[in-house]
Symmetry: D2
Subunit: 482 residues, 4 copies
């Protein structure tokens, strides 16, 4: 066949080279090659089973596709840049090798359902992969938290000293954020894992195809229910884009903390040399570049989500070529998420914690003021009054340039007669931390419980991912190595 | 108490009026009033049960709060604009009415966990409400689809005639999109429905509080696991914002179609006068304003999601005042979603369908070309060749200004000797539609199956919502009317 | 007239109440009331001059409009919520008061050109106002910079100590950012200040109108050139939205610095009590809430820009109702910009600078390392080698827990024989700052020059704004008080 | 030199490979290579002139850089992927070839000012290039408009027939939008075209550098005023990103129209085969893919702008590594704008206009209703009443399934006694168009004036671009070929 597009019959002139370059999706959709060829194997098997194409032709097609799959797997498949997309590449290559039988493969399908199928297969791996990367980072955080259950640091609100907390407790806050990220990804999986194959152009097929069969062979939970929805639906790509943007927002918070904590002013942590870089002009510099880049790359995942949402706005059904822009955008977010998670995990694992500096910092900022108020409440003062009294104590200390701990019991008594000498036991930083034993609190006992809960949740998430991976291995074995 | 903020003790000067106006959240968070007062009832009950405050004081507090709840319910609670937020309003009002006991209510909590609790309670209703509005629109679409299972119209890809489809089939495509929207909302519910109450400022509490008890009293599945995460977490608000943006993208597609279909050029439908408006200058105009506004308002829900994602970027833990911006943004999206869904449903229900015009339109654009190719395949021609042959038939028709149906069998035979006279039965528009019987296809039988599937799914979603509504009624009765 | 819309003739049924509520723009466009009435005065005058309507009717219309303008100015105009927009409100009110003559006002115009005209008039004030608010903040920054030309602080890159800088220099960096913001606003003014009035619905008018005349009367530079462009163009609103988003990005950087600098760890500044708030639970807290809220509100201006860009995407010409969403979105950005600038200026003006703490901070982080390298270059060492040598000095100091200044000349000589005793004069922090005399550098002399340049630019910007304000006063006097 | 980063001295361990890959910007910033080398030539010349480095070394450096420039120009420069950025690549290559003298090039500068300089030089070409591409498209539109001044088509508001317009008039609406785009780009040029070179890391330099000299040699208007602003300022990149997003919004409107107009329902135009593609399944399809892709790619330029605005949010001064993300984002927008403009221009130029179909369409939708109302106004009926009367005429026609033209004068008289037989001359579609002679209106005379105005503006814009291009040629000749 001399023409190199799948649709030349109706046209009077050859397509413009500039147009082919402009409309080509090959630079992006070549990542779908394996999925495309594998999806075609399933389609061809079904066509044979349903007697839509002769078994002999089907066998040739399947053998040819397996050759192509092997080439893709060993990265030796030769993409032809002048063909407009990955689907054309594979179909033309197949026909070149097996002859006329190749022309029967596209029976009862369209590129519209084909690309939707390929994309969903690809996204299954993207979702699993992202979930697993999140789980690795969770592991690093939990391990570091376990070592720092007793490490006292200032807890912050408004970047102001608030109450003393355990560093392990702070790290666990991030773990729970990441667990929700995994949860969201896994929830999206069920909406993703359905097969559009057989929806054809937009209206289904006149051939006696069996969509349940292809869905099963490709590891999907079942077929989609409406062909027109199937070729226009990109919700799964948007949902992943959102998950990615939120994951990155979470990483940006961690990154911001790493940047602040490794500043000269905070000095709470030191990032390993391996995750820092220097300056071309200032010889002393050790910059938290990796953390900064993660924070910066957060922006692009949100930008990508905006692209996706704007792309779909106002598009009537069913397929419109605008949709081609979806894959590059989603892949960009996926690559960002994967790269950033894979840097954050070892950066956390190798982080040096400066416990002395953290502890020293707790002497500033009246971190025990709430505890003094709470002490007064135990003496029968309503909380609102206790708050007012301690506010005055603090004001006094600021004016005198003192810490609350510096005041004698007698001095404290001037603010409230109810203060007794046992107050000192209440307001040591260590005690402030240890006495916050409420569920989810910062006391070492509470933090240890949180670690247990988090590990149980994480184990469940790991199990889900492992089971799904195992299932897919079996699916591919059944389809390709029978 | 003469000062009107909850934190004046430590400050030497009075707060600036401009600052109070700038930092006030009352215009937005007054929607939380009912939830705030109800949450306080649960908190007070727990404080009493745990013997953290005297029962007598607790009883006064609860009675006072119930008065306030009654006022909020009958819209007579008098908000004081000079107080910075809804929490201050309720606490000051309570203390004014019940005296010193009111000062004990804030024991063992902070506005940080209080606002997180109120916001989650509010968002439960937002999520339920949005799901239910989606279900109403689904109902309207399914009802209209049922009436149009047999209505033939051109199916479009690229806004070009593609293949004949049933109008009911087209409507069902939208139904399945909306069902995913509901599904996403209900999935988010489990991440939303956990109680941060008792997380206090960021580190938990030194009092022997029982967070499980307050969680249960407020209808939550349980308490959150880490206090620092709890006061900084706004994932549930982001997740709703995303759901809202995607719902609106789906509505924008419907709106675009209504705009196009009611144009002079399409003339497929007529929107009821009730959902159209006119022109101040052009007397003949009947404009699809409601559909246009829905399409336009789509933009703001995406803009709001942008706001939310950018708001969180680079914020270190734990609470930062930036978070105040979350509520107004989410509420704006909620109001848009609700208003647009409540307009779309009756607009669909009252839509006049111009079946003659739809049918007439199918005579243009060679909608049966695929079927002619499929016919050739049944004669043994590989699909790729069949496609090429039919492309030439179409080229010939364009040059001769004819439709495929206009060609005689003899003329058709010139393109392929395999064409026989039975071809005519294959390529009538009605036949093209009816023969697409594959699962999810456009044949009337397939569409009827889709309606059945969709109704079953919708029924499940309705049941979930109803059960949750019933459960919450019981929760509020138990808490407030024991 | 009993019907209350401007277009009922063609419709068979009354408009739906829900639809009127949904499509009403009154809550947003009532801010245009003054501009709308004033624009109508110009239109009416022109209609009389061009003999399109009788002078007697024109006089009644103008007198009636002046009454309405007076009511709007004293905030006593009674908006009727059941009318769909501000234009209907004014036209119905006018007709009610002056009778049939009122029905002649809308001759030769449409709401499409009317709203475009009103919106541009409104936006002129928005642009001027924003520019002036920026100039006020510039003034506050320059004044504070002038007081801190000699104040030494660590200069940061990557939030790491880099080189010593003057605090005045740091503040001037922000001034130059704001000057570009003003510049952008003023550039946009010429694209904004053209009159669409007379474009009518989309195609111009059949009446002998004089668009130059109305443009001149309303202070525009002239009429727009194409009616269809005129009624669909919202570029001016988008351009402002972008300017607003970038202004806020600049304010977010300042806010971030204020938050960091007022932390216990930095302690470089103290924000006045007037611009801080406290905590409901922690009596010691003084939080930089105003700075945090400015940083947070940055997000919504970017979100609003997203809304605007998405709103326009894919809209065919000419007017579509989607455009109604533009005004509320732009106004929200305007209000945010205005409020934030008006808080930032006094917050900067009243900021306490802790010079001792800033100076003390410069002893950490090897801020003079570049200067040691530069010193080596003056001794003939190529910069790349000098950088390498000083890197080793720093490594040595870190290992020994010393500052570079702590090393004796003899110790330094071990790293490079070229180091002599004059080195000590090169690497004092004060000297590092003072010797950066290059244009735009941080030496006091350079900073003083920057202040001069900035004031000259600012004066030019102020003059532009003042001249434009004066011109408009004259325009309104000529039109309304002849 | 064995180490391959510019900053290893201070570090105890080698940088991690993963970190180098993660932090590398080479894949993006290699587009800056030419600018980087050229900027270095100017820097080296200045260092020699100011006697900061020996002339002999300077000569070697300049000769070495010219070799590198030649290699870059002929695309033979060998980028080393293991070096972190383009700056390292060039500096290491230089030193390898000319020896130790190469190590003197980085005297008195930092990568912070270097990259800012390179980026601005690159962006000058981007801005010019985008402006010129816009001018080419303007040319195509004006040429097509000139051929269609008299072509009657329905003018639309709300995608409903509104009033008859000239197709040339419609095209000119787009021209004026694009002219504002050019205007914005050229306005941004003055803020862009200033030199940060010599700002060094963030604080200026201790060397006696001459920043005016390097600015002049590189064609800048002058140096920036504050070093800290200079290394942190990316406003120019944001401003271009916004211009790009708005350009694309304008192209998306054109694209939407092309998609609609080439549908079977409209049939107003036919896009050349060269800019269309077909379907893999439907042999008859000719899809407007290029227009759809332009519309779709609009989304990514807005997404990119969001990325840029979010990137900067909350970053304290001065340089932070987050900024590295700016270049790839801006370049992506530039490539999209360039590619889309370069497709749109020939697509417009080769567009077939179906004048018969356009004219036929004007018989639907009562396009002459406004003119009938205007006719009544000339008979003394107030416009508001005239509108009401014609509304009833239209209602009558709809009920009778007639056009207004179908009604006899006698029938029309029943609606208003003032209607006379001359009415027929007023309401022919041709007359409706021709009588809209107001400035900016759709009459052929008005459109011809618009073409004249547009050409004058475009000529001015072309002249600006040409002059700037000529100036830069001279600048480069002076610097590189003296």
């Amino acid at each position: 066949m001399s023409n190199k597009v799948l649709w030349s019959g109706r046209f009077s002139g050859a397509p413009d080279e500039g147009t082919l370059a402009f409309t080509s999706s090959l630079s992006v959709d070549s990542v779908l090659a394996w999925y495309d060829a594998v999806g075609s194997v399933a389609h061809a098997k079904m066509l044979v089973e349903q007697k839509i194409i002769p078994r002999a032709d089907g066998d040739k097609i399947i053998a040819g596709l397996k050759d192509i799959i092997a080439q893709i797997e060993e990265d030796s498949f030769d993409f032809n840049e002048t063909l407009e997309d990955v689907h054309s590449n594979i179909e033309f290559d197949l026909t070149e090798h097996i002859g006329e039988a190749g022309g029967r493969l596209h029976t009862a399908r369209s590129r519209n359902d084909q690309v939707a199928t390929d994309f969903r297969m690809f996204m299954r791996d993207v979702v699993m992969d992202s979930a697993e990367s999140l789980l690795v980072l969770q592991g690093a955080l939990i391990a570091k938290a376990r070592l720092n259950v007793d490490t006292v640091m200032p807890g912050f609100t408004h970047v102001q000293h608030a109450q003393p907390v355990s560093f392990g407790f702070h790290l666990m806050a991030h773990v729970f954020k990441l667990q929700r990220d995994v949860d969201r990804l896994l929830d999206s999986y069920k909406r993703l894992n359905v097969s559009p194959l057989g929806s054809a152009a937009l209206a289904g097929s006149t051939y006696p195809i069996d969509r349940q069969m292809t869905a099963r062979m490709l590891g999907f939970d079942g077929p989609t229910h409406n062909a027109m929805d199937s070729v226009s639906d990109r919700d799964f790509a948007l949902e992943y884009s959102f998950c990615a943007a939120l994951i990155m927002d979470h990483l940006s918070a961690m990154s911001e903390e790493l940047v602040l904590w490794s500043s000269q002013e905070f000095g709470f942590v030191e990032i390993a040399d391996a995750y820092s870089t220097g300056s071309s002009i200032m010889p002393q510099k050790k910059n938290p570049d990796v953390a900064e880049l993660i924070r910066g790359r957060t922006a692009s995942t949100t930008g990508n989500l905006m692209t996706m949402l704007m792309l779909l706005k106002g598009l009537p059904l069913s397929y419109n070529r605008d949709l081609q822009e979806d894959k590059g955008t989603v892949i960009a977010s996926y690559e960002t998420v994967t790269a950033c998670l894979s840097m954050m995990a070892p950066m956390i694992a190798t982080l040096s914690v400066n416990k002395e500096r953290m502890l020293a910092a707790t002497s500033q900022g009246f971190l025990n003021a709430t505890d003094l108020a709470d002490y007064l409440v135990t003496k029968g003062v309503p909380f609102r009054q206790a708050h007012e009294i301690v506010g005055k104590v603090v004001r006094h200390c600021i004016d005198q340039n003192k810490r609350i701990d510096d005041l004698s019991v007698a001095e404290l008594k001037k603010f409230s007669a109810k203060i007794g000498k046992e107050v000192k036991g209440f307001i040591s930083v260590q005690s402030c931390m240890n006495r916050r034993t409420s569920y989810g609190g910062t006391s070492p006992a509470s933090v240890n419980s949180q670690i247990e809960v988090a590990e149980e949740v994480a184990n469940g998430q790991v199990e889900f991912c492992d089971a799904e991976r195992d299932r897919m291995v079996k699916v591919w074995n059944d389809l390709l190595r029978p």
